[in-house]
């Protein structure tokens, strides 16, 4: 985008509006965007995100090259033509710098965001699943090493479209006869295009028995509920019990789904729900300094055997502890005890905690504990329904190490939060997920994995252990150069994940893959091609042990301008979000990138211009939003910031951007809308000029949904939306659907947003003039606020910084 120099007034052209749709490869290329310096900046001309309305069909490879993926936030249908879907894997830049120096110069990060179970578009072809019998015949079945060699061999072939000379060449003797095929003149197998496992970017294999270290484990769900005084008084216990009770029906049926339950205050209460027993048996473990399980068996039972007993128990728990006077909550010990109960099988541990008075200090012990949980494949999700400080920073260590997450309900409202709690729990157990996963990312020679970031446990430097992995979780992988690439060569990334389906276990659980991964490493040295392998090995909810292999191959370049041109803003921004930087660092990161572009790619421009690379033109806006986000703001509660930090560690690209840069829509005029293309109306710019005093607005970031009600909203609208004509609506909002069109529409829109975000949203009502209204306004990113800049001011600030650096 080129904006005129300060003295000039240049008529806006097609590119100058900053209104071009987000760049896709089809789009005419614009070298860079420019924004004029402050005084003349036209606030309507500065770059803002454009909502993409139409559905894009995206072929992952075109013309023998990786295609540039559409924006993560847009709607697109992927056709896997050799690279995996961008939903599964996105790189911060769609061309790879040939050298490390070039990367450093650009100021941009090189990282992959891998979301192995991301939800596909309904119109997409499902990932193809293959049996490994093709390459494993009986003569090898007794030799695990050879089998894994074969497996790796298969993986190698999966990326044969990458003109890999080796193909089966190096291993032709090992190729099973029925799988043998001659190579073509280009060195590829002649049948590569007919064999999906050889031409798809993503394939899945069903692991064979030989790859399994232990028998299939049942899918275990263990519920742990706080019943201390505070939890009972606030209704948190009742909400948890009710949520669990309702969510039971979402658990996979079948004998392989097992459940267990325990409650805790200053002691831990286990329950034996064996059907034969007339009454449930409550077993109390009072020694929280050194916990143990009260029974060896019967603490977890197949859901089919204990459903009624469990439902009864859940119904009676809130009353049973009705006047519990114990204020202490042995959170850590309870988790440890529950862990012991499911240690032999692994599984999900769902903790409902609310007391603020933790009996044991939450400290380093939790880290040690978390590592042990992960080792035994126990994933912990913590639901915090509280009204005071609970030290999320410490607590979140456990879920973040075990592949779980923290859910936070603050201040817990017995009125509005139970619905969210239930929906969160329900989604938690019903979303696509795998257990006992191991993931490893490999890449072409020239690059190496620098680090992994996300909710997992890393015991060896190369692998990521995930007791559970679900569709919402993303793992960030950073890379560094250890060699040079040739111009126009391909750099490939491969993610291999071995996992266990957890819904119904039909096939034995695959081998837990440390050995497998080690073998892969040896093989990698043979692959003299530029390829990043994301190898995923995980267990899906259907009990099969599977290996998911995702491949992405990108062109290497020596041109800095290409790096900027093919930069992926959303992924880069997600990278910055996950880095957990301080306020100033965020701004300086942004400035460094822009300065590099200014210095090396825009030499023709005059110095008075702020020049933004087209692909990164929203970087300043997002950076500004980040400095104003809950996680970085200095005026927030410590727990809010810790919570924010805990969720961004595993957040996906598609949710990271809205979390920081929320979406705001007007609700009052929903029925007047003309454009009926999509349910959700076009988002409004995040500044207060868009807020009318007689309007009702909805702002959401994937976590919270804020309903803002102006001062002079027409009572009829209030009546239609909330069933009351005055603004005396409580802040804890339950969005009911009333029998009128507006209410129906609003509910439709909110539900659509919930679907998009895979989140129920914590609804709150914000009223102008009270603190809730102020909070709403503080999220209007473009506004100037106390101690922070407006968008325009921020652009000026960035521009000045760049100028001062250049001189």
């Amino acid at each position: 985008m080129r904006m005129p120099d300060m003295p000039c007034i240049m008529p806006p052209n097609a590119l100058g509006h900053g209104m071009t749709p987000a760049s896709t490869p089809k789009m005419p290329y614009s070298p860079h965007s420019q924004v004029s310096t402050p005084s003349k900046i036209d606030p309507t001309q500065i770059p803002r995100p454009i909502a993409e309305r139409s559905v894009i069909i995206f072929e992952t490879r075109q013309g023998g090259q990786a295609a540039i993926p559409p924006a993560a936030s847009s709607e697109f249908i992927v056709k896997d033509t050799g690279n995996c879907s961008p939903r599964l894997m996105r790189c911060t830049m769609n061309q790879i710098p040939c050298t490390g120096d070039l990367l450093t110069t650009s100021g941009m990060p090189l990282a992959l965001l891998v979301q192995p179970f991301s939800l596909p578009h309904p119109s997409e072809e499902p990932i193809q699943v293959f049996h490994l019998i093709n390459c494993i015949n009986t003569e090898y079945s007794q030799q695990p090493y050879d089998i894994t060699t074969k497996l790796s061999n298969m993986e190698t072939n999966c990326i044969s479209y990458l003109y890999i000379l080796m193909s089966f060449a190096g291993f032709s003797n090992d190729t099973p006869r029925e799988y043998f095929c001659n190579l073509g003149p280009d060195g590829r197998r002649r049948d590569a295009d007919e064999r999906p496992e050889l031409c798809r970017g993503t394939v899945e294999f069903i692991a064979t028995k030989e790859l399994m270290v232990r028998d299939p484990m049942p899918a275990v769900y263990f519920f742990l509920i706080d019943v201390s005084m505070n939890a009972l008084n606030t209704g948190a216990t009742a909400a948890a019990c009710s949520a669990i009770s309702q969510a039971l029906s979402d658990l996979p049926e079948g004998p392989q789904t097992m459940v267990g339950i325990a409650t805790f205050d200053s002691a831990i209460h286990f329950y034996s729900l064996k059907r034969a027993q007339q009454q449930p048996l409550m077993l109390i473990v009072p020694d929280i300094q050194d916990v143990y399980t009260p029974l060896q068996t019967d603490l977890i039972l197949p859901i089919s055997e204990c459903r009624e007993n469990l439902e009864q128990l859940l119904e009676s728990i809130p009353n049973m502890f009705g006047n519990n006077r114990v204020a202490d909550s042995a959170f850590g010990a309870a988790m440890k005890a529950a862990f012991l109960a499911i240690k032999s099988t692994g599984g999900k541990l769902l903790v409902f905690q609310s007391a603020h008075k933790l009996l044991q200090p939450v400290d380093k012990n939790l880290k040690t504990m978390a590592l042990e949980f992960a080792k035994y494949q126990v994933c912990v999700d913590v639901f915090l329904a509280t009204q005071s400080y609970v030290d999320i920073a410490s607590i979140s260590v456990v879920p973040n190490t075990t592949g779980g997450r923290v859910y936070y309900y603050y201040p817990f409202s017995a009125l509005s939060d139970p619905a969210k709690l239930f929906n969160d729990l329900r989604w938690n157990i019903s979303r696509p997920q795998g257990f006992e996963a191991v993931m490893r990312v490999r890449c072409s020679q020239g690059l190496q994995v620098q680090d992994y970031l996300g909710s997992f446990c890393k015991r060896v430097p190369t692998d990521v252990d995930l007791p559970a992995i679900d569709s919402d979780k993303a793992i960030m992988v950073t890379f560094k150069h250890d060699d040079k690439f040739q111009e126009n060569s391909e750099c490939a990334f491969q993610v291999i994940m071995l996992y266990m389906e957890a819904r119904e276990i039909l096939v034995p659980v695959p081998k837990f893959l440390s050995s497998f991964v080690i073998e892969c490493k040896e093989l990698l040295s043979l692959t003299d091609f530029c390829c990043i392998f994301s190898v995923r090995c995980y267990t899906t909810v259907f009990g099969q042990r599977r290996i998911r292999v995702m491949n992405l191959s990108l062109t290497c370049t020596n041109m800095l301008s290409n790096l900027f041109r093919y930069a992926d803003l959303e992924t880069q921004f997600t990278y910055v979000v996950k880095q957990g930087k301080q306020l100033d660092q965020v701004t300086s990161t942004c400035i460094n990138v822009l300065q590099s572009y200014r210095k090396y790619c825009a030499s023709v421009s005059s110095s008075g211009q702020l020049i933004l690379p087209e692909a990164l033109k929203l970087l300043p806006l997002y950076a500004l939003a980040l400095t104003k986000s809950i996680g970085l703001r200095n005026d927030g509660r410590l727990d809010d910031r810790s919570y924010w930090a805990s969720i961004v560690s595993s957040i996906s690209v598609v949710l990271a951007v809205p979390l920081v840069f929320p979406r705001m829509i007007a609700l009052h005029d929903l029925i007047l809308r003309e454009d009926d293309e999509s349910l959700v109306p076009t988002p409004l710019t995040l500044n207060s000029e868009n807020i009318r005093d007689d309007g009702v607005y909805f702002m959401e970031n994937g976590e919270d949904g804020l309903l803002y009600v102006g001062n002079s909203v027409h009572p009829a609208i209030l009546e239609q939306l909330f069933g009351v004509s005055s603004a005396a609506v409580p802040n804890q909002l339950v969005l009911e659907q009333f029998d009128n069109e507006l209410s129906r529409k609003v509910n439709e829109v909110v539900n659509e947003i919930r679907r998009q975000r895979c989140s129920y949203l914590r609804l709150r009502l914000c009223k102008k003039g009270d603190p809730s209204g102020d909070f709403f306004r503080s999220l209007l990113v473009e506004d100037k606020a106390l101690g922070s800049l407006s968008y325009v001011e921020f652009l000026v600030h960035v521009h000045r910084q760049i100028q001062s650096k250049l001189t």
Binding site: S266, A267, H269, F270, Y271, Q277, Q278, Q279, P280, L281, M282, L283, I284, V285, P286, D287, I288, D290, Y292, P294, L295, Q296, T297, D298, L313, S316, N319, M320, G322, N323, R325, V326
Partner: protein
């Protein structure tokens, strides 16, 4: 000299009206003198012995105390100045004024506690023990407490027996009695009976020792006992609203409930009680946590002790046989056999009689594990003692003058007590000291005693004689040397522990029976009569009845056995024979009935394999070495042990040595 005015030995109870027996009824003059007595000066006291029916009824008022720190109670040995209304404490010689309500006291009107024959009296004391508080205001006595402790590391069948017995026991308990239940296997389960929604159990781990404070804390009882938490003994009938436990039950009452309220819960619990669920590794025995169970019993009971003063404890750890498990802290902890243990088989025998059945059926013995057992036993014993003092105010005193010379010492010697004291002493020493040679120690003590108190000329064994007060003592020692207390290798460690425990607990008379069994002969020739505990007492036409306390043996002579096998007793013309056969059984039943725990009854024939139970106890006056002069129908014992005669010869020779 014993100055007890009622010195005449009471016929009814060999342990005397006061249940106090001393080894020496005369004081040695000095420490050196005492050490030269060989047998230590000791008193055996049975404060909680079942009251003698002939004893005066309990006094309905609190006792009078000497001024602190003495605090002794007024007793017949106090000198009373009736004119000045003053009594002088016989212990500290303080002068105490009688309180106003004793104003009517005079030489002709003395209170019962000053009657000379009332050296032992019982007081009924109200809850707080406030002197002079009218009894009517003191309310009903707190209910008795029963805490049942059941081992679940048993096979299902045996657990069923226990359950059956438990049900009977619970049904027989008085309505208001408080009941608690602890079961244990690998872990200890403390059942909270006052929780109606579901079965609530506190689980303690077996591998960890927990202190009393920790347990109280973990059970939420910590504050309760100390801060005078308003407990409601006897009236926990607070209605349970919506399944919530009322605050009043937050204390120990959650675990101890009146039978009437928890009978249902209890029976459900019993129904569902299953053998321990923890898997037993192949080749190993079940791991169980006897120690912790017992420690919980004892710790937990300390709470009721304070709140319910009239305490009947009835704890019954019931173990399966043969498990030795070594624990880091109690390496000698041994639990074996089936157990019915009674800390204080106080007044209410109702539950016990039922438990007995279970034990007999499972062929078990009454055993208490060694380390915990002893401490538990002692603690409880001590507590009962404390409780007893407060509630009953037992006052037992025996006045012993300082004696001056050997003759007086000899006169005051109580050989039975001495034998028992020595037996207890060596039991303790054997437990505490490694390599302790009990036999040698006993021999030396006996020799020293005989040297000190015997009548002889130096170096002339034939001149040796003993005062009648000592006459039985060598025989006691001889049998003690051969008894289960010294010859421990014939028994398992916990059997030994059990024997020792009972030795420590039982009265002198019973303890003597353990050391030296009694033998009664039944024959056509003479009425049943005691005979020597000697192999020579065996005859073909005799039935012998041996009472070795822990076992009762009926031994049929060869001829009797033959007759019986031919069925003579069923023929009308041989009714006399039938009666002869029956008589020892009746006698044995008498013994068994009056004894707890139940002794093992062995019925055997001469030359039968079971006969060893008798032969082991007999003096081997005829062995295979002396078999040449065996009379027809008599028996010999295959042993190298010396006979009593040889033993005495040696003793005489050594005692007179200069």
């Amino acid at each position: 000299m014993a100055a007890d005015p009622s010195a005449a030995p009471p016929a009814a109870d060999p342990d005397g009206p006061d249940a106090v027996r001393l080894t020496w009824n005369a004081w040695p003059r000095s420490k050196i003198e005492a050490s030269r007595c060989v047998v230590p000066l000791a008193a055996a006291v049975s404060p909680c012995r079942a009251p003698d029916p002939s004893a005066p009824p309990p006094l309905p008022y609190p006792p009078l105390r000497c001024k602190p720190p003495c605090s002794a109670l007024l007793n017949p040995f106090a000198r009373v100045d009736f004119a000045a209304k003053i009594w002088i404490c016989p212990l500290c010689f303080s002068r105490n004024h009688f309180p106003p309500h004793y104003a009517a006291i005079s030489e002709s009107n003395v209170p019962a506690e000053l009657f000379p024959q009332c050296s032992t009296v019982e007081y009924v004391v109200g809850g707080a023990g406030v002197p002079g508080a009218p009894q009517a205001q003191q309310g009903a006595p707190p209910p008795p407490v029963f805490l049942f402790v059941i081992d679940t590391c048993v096979i299902e069948e045996e657990l069923e027996y226990v359950k059956m017995a438990m049900r009977k026991a619970v049904a027989l308990l008085p309505e208001h009695a408080l009941v608690g239940l602890v079961t244990f296997g690998t872990q200890v389960h403390l059942h909270e009976l006052g929780f109606s929604d579901l079965s609530k159990i506190y689980v303690f781990r077996g591998t960890k020792e927990i202190s009393k404070e920790q347990i109280l804390d973990q059970l939420g009882l910590a504050g309760a006992g100390r801060t005078g938490f308003p407990k409601m003994p006897g009236q926990p009938g607070v209605p349970q609203v919506n399944g919530m436990h009322p605050p009043a039950t937050a204390g120990v009452n959650r675990f101890l409930l009146p039978v009437s309220e928890c009978e249902c819960t209890l029976s459900t619990l019993l129904d569902e009680l299953q053998p321990d669920q923890w898997p037993v590794e192949a080749g190993n025995r079940a791991i169980r946590c006897t120690g912790v169970a017992l420690s919980i019993v004892s710790k937990d009971l300390s709470e009721p002790v304070r709140s319910h003063k009239d305490l009947d404890k009835d704890a019954a750890p019931h173990f399966q046989k043969a498990v030795k498990f070594y624990d880091g802290l109690a390496k000698q902890l041994v639990g074996q056999g089936h157990v019915l243990d009674v800390f204080a088989s106080a007044l209410d025998q109702v539950g016990l009689a039922e438990m007995k059945v279970a034990i007999e059926r499972t062929g078990g013995l009454v055993v208490l594990s060694e380390s915990f057992g002893h401490s538990v036993f002692k603690d409880s014993f001590q507590r009962i003692f404390e409780g007893g003092e407060q509630s009953l105010g037992l006052s037992f005193k025996k006045w012993v003058d300082g004696s001056t010379n050997t003759e007086e010492l000899v006169e005051g010697f109580d050989q039975e007590t001495a034998a028992v004291v020595l037996a207890r002493y060596i039991s303790l020493k054997m437990e505490m000291e490694e390599e302790f040679d009990a036999t040698r120690w006993l021999d030396r003590s006996l020799i020293r005693l005989c040297s000190r108190f015997g009548d002889y000329r130096k170096d002339d064994p034939s001149s040796f004689s003993l005062h009648s007060n000592f006459s039985l003592f060598p025989q006691f020692m001889f049998n003690l040397r051969r008894s289960q207390f010294v010859q421990v290798f014939n028994n398992s460690p916990d059997e030994t522990a059990f024997f020792r425990m009972l030795l420590n607990r039982e009265s002198i008379t019973n303890s003597v029976a353990m050391i030296q069994p009694s033998l009664i002969s039944f024959s056509f020739d003479s009425p049943p009569s005691p005979v020597f505990l000697d192999v020579a007492s065996i005859a073909a036409d005799r039935i012998l009845l041996l009472d070795a306390y822990f076992s009762v043996v009926i031994f049929h002579g060869m001829t009797i056995a033959q007759w019986r096998n031919m069925g003579y007793q069923n023929q009308p013309e041989h009714e006399q024979f039938a009666q002869l056969l029956q008589a020892p059984h009746e006698e044995a039943q008498m013994i068994i009935k009056g004894r707890f725990p139940v002794p093992r009854l062995v019925v055997c024939d001469q030359h039968g394999s079971q006969a060893r139970f008798l032969l082991a106890k007999l003096n081997p006056s005829a062995t295979y070495n002396s078999a040449h002069d065996v009379a027809l129908g008599s028996d010999i014992i295959f042993t190298d042990d010396v006979s009593f005669q040889v033993f005495c010869e040696h003793l005489q020779r050594l005692a007179v040595q200069s």
